[in-house]
Symmetry: C2
Subunit: 316 residues, 2 copies
């Protein structure tokens, strides 16, 4: 029987499982940004991952970890973001049905991405409760298997492959920093990084306007995110029961970042690295720029989570 919490071995298995489908994303560096923060930064570019975000790793690992019998009825989730597209593509690759519950006001491009991969969308009222009720109905009807965007061992193990790859290509990192939304990426990062090298420091970066992880670590229990308000729309979720304990145990610090700091860091990454990243990805550099005095001499792995920015609506 599987243990409840993902282990380093689960991350290694996930890496093998998704290898035929996922990109090994490049790591970029920028001497001008290094000078600004007085550290050596290694940007792991998940904006170049399939569907433009690390979410593909977790969804792909979950979908391909199912038995044929389990998979035959398809998979389901509720999401208005990158996880929806990631699950739709993963299901397409396995040739199984994918059911996505989306709020009726979800962005047009996210709907199109899901439909483009053959996902079946069920719309609901744009409220958390309605999403959960609607998802339950879809699952009752289709007998599909729920793949949660972050509170799922299979998802977390898949997200852990980002840090696994990063530390395999750059074994001497002192620190890894990731954004925190529901905590799937950072908890996978903890499992992978601590498994390879217990001395790696893990830091989280979070918008001030959605600082539930910061508050949860202070309080020692999950503090739900009630009214998030930030441009970083991938980081609105509360921590989950599976991600919180891992984060509480392994993450050294969470740095919160203002909206202006996020936008400034986003523009800097566009201009200096010549890459397109979404606001949620900029939070990590915003955090490092806020506290350059703490970074001196460190080699820092910086996980840029995704690149699905709206080119028609730039924040500057």
């Amino acid at each position: 029987m599987n243990k409840i919490n993902p282990t380093f071995s689960d991350v290694e298995t996930a890496a093998e499982r998704i290898a035929p489908f996922a990109e090994k994303t490049p790591v970029l560096t920028c001497s001008a940004i290094n000078e600004m923060v007085d550290a050596k930064l290694y940007f792991k570019c998940e904006n170049f991952q399939k569907v433009g975000a690390f979410k593909f790793r977790g969804a792909c690992n979950a979908v391909f970890s199912l038995t044929d019998e389990q998979a035959s009825k398809g998979v389901a989730t509720h999401s208005s973001g990158n996880h929806a597209a990631a699950l739709a593509l993963s299901g397409k690759l396995r040739g199984i049905p994918v059911h996505i519950v989306m709020p009726s006001n979800a962005p047009e491009n996210k709907k199109q991405a899901v439909e483009g991969y053959g996902g079946k969308i069920t719309y609901c009222e744009p409220k958390v409760h309605a999403r959960e009720v609607t998802l339950k109905k879809v699952i009752d009807k289709t007998h599909s298997i729920e793949i949660h965007p972050y509170n799922d061992k299979r998802t977390i193990s898949g997200q852990g492959t980002v840090a696994l790859e990063l530390l395999q290509s750059h074994p001497d990192l002192d620190v890894i920093i990731t954004p925190i939304g529901g905590g799937g990426l950072i908890s996978g990062t903890c499992i992978a990084a601590k498994g390879l090298n217990p001395n790696v420091t893990i830091i989280g970066a979070e918008p001030k306007g959605a600082d539930d992880a910061f508050l949860s670590l202070e309080k020692g229990e999950i503090v739900p995110q009630l009214n998030p308000n930030t441009i970083a729309d991938g980081l609105l979720s509360s921590l989950g029961t599976k991600t919180f304990p891992i984060i509480y145990k392994h993450v050294s610090k969470i740095i919160t970042v203002s909206e202006n700091e996020i936008i400034r860091a986003m523009r800097l990454l566009w201009e200096r690295l010549n890459i397109i990243i979404e606001p949620s990805s900029a939070v990590v550099l915003g955090a490092l720029m806020k506290h350059p005095e703490e970074n001196i001499g460190n080699k820092i792995g910086v996980i840029l989570s995704g690149g699905n920015a709206d080119l028609n609506n730039l924040p500057w």
Copy 2:
């Protein structure tokens, strides 16, 4: 004595010479774009090169190929674009003076880039003749060595390292396509690619509004570019006496692309690859999208030349 034309061995030497300084740029793929053009495209991302453009390779090779005595008086060029920044950084790395002649109306960010690397700018009237006269004065005064942006064996050999790297990582390419301005990149590509594999087809892509290379290949002699008019501001130059013969001998075809086709391809690369490329780089994808029926089944290396786009002035 050196032969006049660069050889494959010159490109190999250049690769060794610039290795401590230049990035080995990543190669990205995109299944959605592959479907559109019915071919497998491998994007060599020189927008991630130092100074944001392949030009660093040629400038760096030229600067580090000088003897200490030659280098001591510094280097000089006239350029309002990426070559200026590339030469300034290369000179800084070698610790020698760099003199750049720039038209007085050069973009502010280009001036800042040169000055940021410690280059000394001499301004002149924004006319070709004024640039040449002013450069001659600067060289007479400083005894610095001219490093031409493309009509120079050392520059061409350095630019050839893009294709060398690309074919070393992807040896089974059938075709390589590059943009054409003065012809430094594509002539270096010819030397490198044909040296590794004579069967690789080399194709050039050029804006319709600056189609001197297309006309030169038709006529069999250099047709100067008189009044270029294109958003692709890296591709305004005429072919040179050293680049034309190499291109004439080795390039199979030059495809010309309209402004709308360039802008459409640029946006597609931003949206689908999540990378920032300048208009001059989009010309190659514009060319491939124009003639998808010719690409069937081919593996095509696509050189994206640079990423110095103006985020405040996007063409859509």
